[in-house]
């Protein structure tokens, strides 16, 4: 297929041409053809560690060829549509409907309509029941699958939890079925797949709605597991090292090598879904990480390596690891970076050690503006921690600090909002004590979106008008010296609707996508009007999903998805939040009985849980 006439008309054509270092081309004959689909742009996908891991994991097998496909930018989408061309894979330019699997990474609710548009571009029916076994099996993975219900009627199956091991079991089962003449058709394949731990086949569950649209019950068909327990890779060191990631030619969002130190986090911030669904903490051994770093560099040629995890400074022996890496990485010609820093002096010293040469901006996330509210969300840092860290940063030579906060957290009052401005001006005063001139301070706020499987999963989101009021209250209080950026209120609303949504939102997503909702994570394309109309035509109400207080005993749409963390624990944490009681990290204190040990076949607080 000669794409030149097409590519010469679009922006950044290299998004669509593949051929990058470490991309894989195979002889297709006899292989299971797997499309790793990402419902956002190439440069976002290529910054996603999970995509790189699965690509390598699948392509290690001789019987599989994994290729990539992404959401095209609007100009390319229009060109494909006007020329009647199908969306194709980067590696072999195969139309996506010819693949055996299409596996979407679901990381952000606002990309759901892109899934639909990609299927439409590939001429693949969007509803699972309209696709027979000649069409690709649609698999969803990633954090959004902990409540995949809005897309339950679109996907054939979801992988809940870590994908590295499950994906092999799925392929094996598929090959077994394929080699027996696809006996029993798609239905029999799905039944077999649903026996794999971590695999959720939504068509095997029926949801019954009761009065006022709440769920009455979720019924599994006979033989389907209830609940569906997430897949867990117990030992990251037992996996093949993902040290041969694709190196994009074009500049992508994170243009550096990524080294995953550990998975999971036990800090217990009550708004944080990642802190729940990736439990327990599983660390890679230090020698393994340093070895991986060297291989990663010699396979990619990156000039920077980033140590990624949910909170990298929490890695046990992080100082030794950093010293070790700094010594090995070619006499300082490769930079290290730590993207997720806690607000404390330990993290800051680590950052100065690492960034000896490159003093780029420093970013901290106090999340809330008063001690009271930080206690509510269990972000266990004090005002003094924040100021001391800022002071040290200024002393170490930084002049610019970026601060992340949330607006609309449960129990938030105007005092808490103004507390953000107060904290920021205190940081400014610390600077004046040390240096002349003014620091570059920037504040960024996101509106709190209550997420499934968190202690705040029952809480309402504040309304759009209230979001705007609090944003302008803060903007006024911050004054002119501080750069303030905020999130689009209606994007936060849509995220709240979809993240705790049920199956009735499926038709909303499909009709919004077909009414023009594309690239909704990009503000230049976001259009809430389309969604409002789609909700109305399905007679659904935004408030029901986003702004309603749920009862303790309400059946939640994701109740049949088991993250390993008990609902009882989440409710306890919720109660503690409302009484402003903090909960210590179970790695320093005792086991809190979150329930994850149930996945480990071990006693409370056993070896794995201790990290």
């Amino acid at each position: 297929m000669n794409l030149d006439p097409l590519l010469s008309k679009v922006t950044k054509p290299a998004r669509y041409t593949g051929g990058e270092l470490n991309s894989v081309v195979k002889e297709p004959e006899g292989k299971v053809r797997f499309g790793l689909a990402f419902p956002d742009l190439y440069e976002v996908a290529m910054s996603h560690l999970g995509t790189h891991i699965l690509y390598q994991e699948l392509n290690r097998r001789d019987d599989v060829w994994a290729e990539r496909v992404h959401m095209p930018w609007s100009d390319m989408e229009d060109e494909l549509l006007s020329r009647g061309l199908s969306l194709f894979t980067l590696e072999s330019r195969t139309p996506i409907r010819e693949l055996d699997f299409l596996g979407f990474s679901l990381l952000y609710e606002l990309t759901y309509s892109n899934v639909i548009r990609m299927l439409d571009l590939g001429d693949i029916p969007v509803w699972a029941h309209e696709r027979d076994e000649t069409l690709p099996l649609l698999v969803g993975g990633g954090p959004c699958t902990f409540n995949p219900e809005p897309l339950a009627d679109v996907f054939d199956l979801f992988v809940i939890g870590d994908g590295e091991e499950v994906v092999h079991l799925i392929i094996d089962e598929y090959i077994h079925w394929r080699d027996r003449n696809r006996q029993g058709g798609k239905r029999s394949l799905l039944q077999a797949l649903s026996r794999i731990t971590g695999v959720y086949v939504p068509s095997r569950y029926r949801v019954e709605y009761g009065e006022e649209g709440r769920i009455r019950r979720i019924d599994p068909e006979p033989g389907a597991s209830f609940p569906v327990v997430k897949a867990l890779v117990k030992d990251l060191d037992a996996l093949a090292d993902p040290v041969r990631p694709i190196v994009a030619f074009t500049e992508v969002v994170h243009d550096r090598g990524m080294l995953e130190l550990f998975r999971g986090c036990t800090r217990g911030c009550r708004f944080c879904q990642a802190g729940i669904i990736y439990r327990p903490v599983r660390e890679r051994r230090r020698e393994r990480i340093t070895g991986m770093a060297q291989q990663l560099l010699s396979n990619t040629g990156y000039g920077e390596v980033s140590l990624v995890s949910l909170s990298s400074a929490d890695y046990s022996g992080i100082q030794d690891l950093v010293a070790d890496l700094m010594g090995r990485l070619e006499c300082g010609r490769v930079a290290l970076s730590l993207p997720s820093l806690r607000v404390d002096s330990f993290s800051l010293d680590l950052a100065s050690e690492i960034q000896r040469v490159k003093k780029t901006g420093l970013t901290f996330a106090p999340e809330a503006g008063t001690q009271r509210l930080r206690n509510v969300i269990n972000k266990c840092i004090t005002e003094e921690d924040i100021l001391a860290t800022a002071r040290r940063a200024f002393q170490a030579g930084w002049d610019s600090i970026k601060l992340y906060f949330m607006l609309g957290l449960p129990t938030e009052t105007d005092e808490d909002v103004l507390g953000i401005a107060h904290t920021v001006s205190s940081i400014g005063r610390e600077y004046s004590k040390l240096k002349s001139g003014r620091p570059k301070l920037s504040v960024s706020t996101a509106v709190f979106v209550p997420k499934p499987h968190t202690p705040f999963q029952w809480e309402p989101q504040i309304g759009v008008a209230e979001m705007q009021r609090r944003q302008s209250l803060l903007a006024d209080a911050l004054g002119r010296g501080v750069k303030y950026s905020w999130s689009e209120p209606e994007q936060s609303l849509l995220e709240a609707i979809l993240s705790r949504g049920d199956r009735r939102l499926g038709p909303v997503i499909v009709s919004a996508a077909r009414a023009g909702a594309r690239l909704q994570a990009w503000s230049e394309f976001f259009d809430y009007g389309i969604w409002r109309a789609a909700m109305e035509s399905e007679q659904l109400d935004a408030e029901f999903y986003a702004n309603r207080q749920r009862d303790r005993d309400e059946v939640l749409p994701w109740d049949h998805i088991d993250s390993g963390i008990g609902k009882g624990y989440l409710w306890r944490e919720r109660e503690r939040a409302f009484s402003q009681t903090t909960t210590p990290d179970c790695r320093s204190g005792g086991c809190l009985g979150c329930g994850v040990t149930g996945l480990l076949e071990q006693e409370r607080g056993g070896a794995l849980c201790k990290g």
Binding site: A14, L21, F249, V334
Partner: protein
């Protein structure tokens, strides 16, 4: 390392050898930008373990320089680069080792050692030889295309419109067109060989030449390139063209 002079000491880096190499940009990667192309080479250098000189400062990177940027969508077998090494090595070893790490789509064709004192590539390369392929009406004859080329070359002026920062302006590109040839190809194609100015003292885009030819032919040729290829970068002086791969102080292969 007696006998070698080092350069760059003032900027904090120090090289003992300069290797000039000619690389390509093949079909499969022609849609990446010049910056992307440079970064792909930089990462290959980092993977190679060659004794590259690194720049000092916040963000050390291997020291190398391109002669001229290539437009997106154009293939090439003429991209020239100077690489600065902190230890001398044989050019054939350099070539072998770098070809092992260059990504698919970036071949290396030749490498020579040039004196450290030689002026920068970007300062001397001022011309480029392109081949463009375009469609033609089937009845276009050899004679006809030769006449068209002659017509272009004998024009005293070739005004073209360009989009500048402050709106459209017209410039005369005739002094920047050094030579042209047209060859009838099989099928409905004609190839246009163009020797054009490039670099700081003015440059011509091959598309501008095709537009002129297409207009003169009353659209029997063109108006868009099907493929465009840069054959060589060149140094043009009073005596004609010389190859940057064989500079005056050429030391040997």
């Amino acid at each position: 390392m007696r006998g070698h002079r080092s350069v760059g000491a003032r900027e904090g880096w120090c090289a003992l050898q300069r290797i000039r190499a000619r690389l390509g940009k093949m079909e499969q990667i022609k849609w990446i930008s010049h910056l992307d192309y440079m970064r792909a080479i930089e990462r290959a250098l980092r993977r190679s373990g060659l004794p590259l000189t690194y720049t000092q400062g916040f963000n050390p990177h291997p020291k190398f320089a391109a002669a001229s940027a290539l437009a997106v969508g154009v293939t090439s077998e003429g991209e020239c680069f100077d690489f600065y090494l902190e230890r001398p090595m044989r050019t054939m070893d350099f070539r072998r080792r770098i070809s092992q790490v260059l990504p698919t789509g970036i071949p290396i064709f030749e490498a020579v050692s040039v004196p450290l004192t030689e002026p920068a590539l970007g300062a001397v390369v001022n011309a480029a030889w392109y081949t463009g392929y375009t469609r033609r009406d089937p009845d276009v004859t050899e004679k006809e295309v030769e006449r068209l080329v002659l017509q272009v070359l004998s024009s005293p002026q070739l005004p073209v419109k360009r989009q500048g920062k402050h709106g459209e302006k017209t410039i005369d590109i005739r002094p920047l067109v050094f030579d042209l040839k047209a060859v009838l190809e099989h099928g409905d194609e004609v190839s246009l060989l163009m020797w054009l100015a490039t670099g700081n003292e003015g440059s011509v885009r091959p598309e501008e030449i095709l537009r002129v030819v297409s207009d003169l032919s009353f659209s029997k040729i063109g108006p868009d390139f099907a493929r465009l290829h840069r054959n060589r970068l060149l140094i043009r002086n009073r005596r004609g063209f010389t190859d940057p791969m064989q500079p005056q102080g050429f030391l040997g292969r």
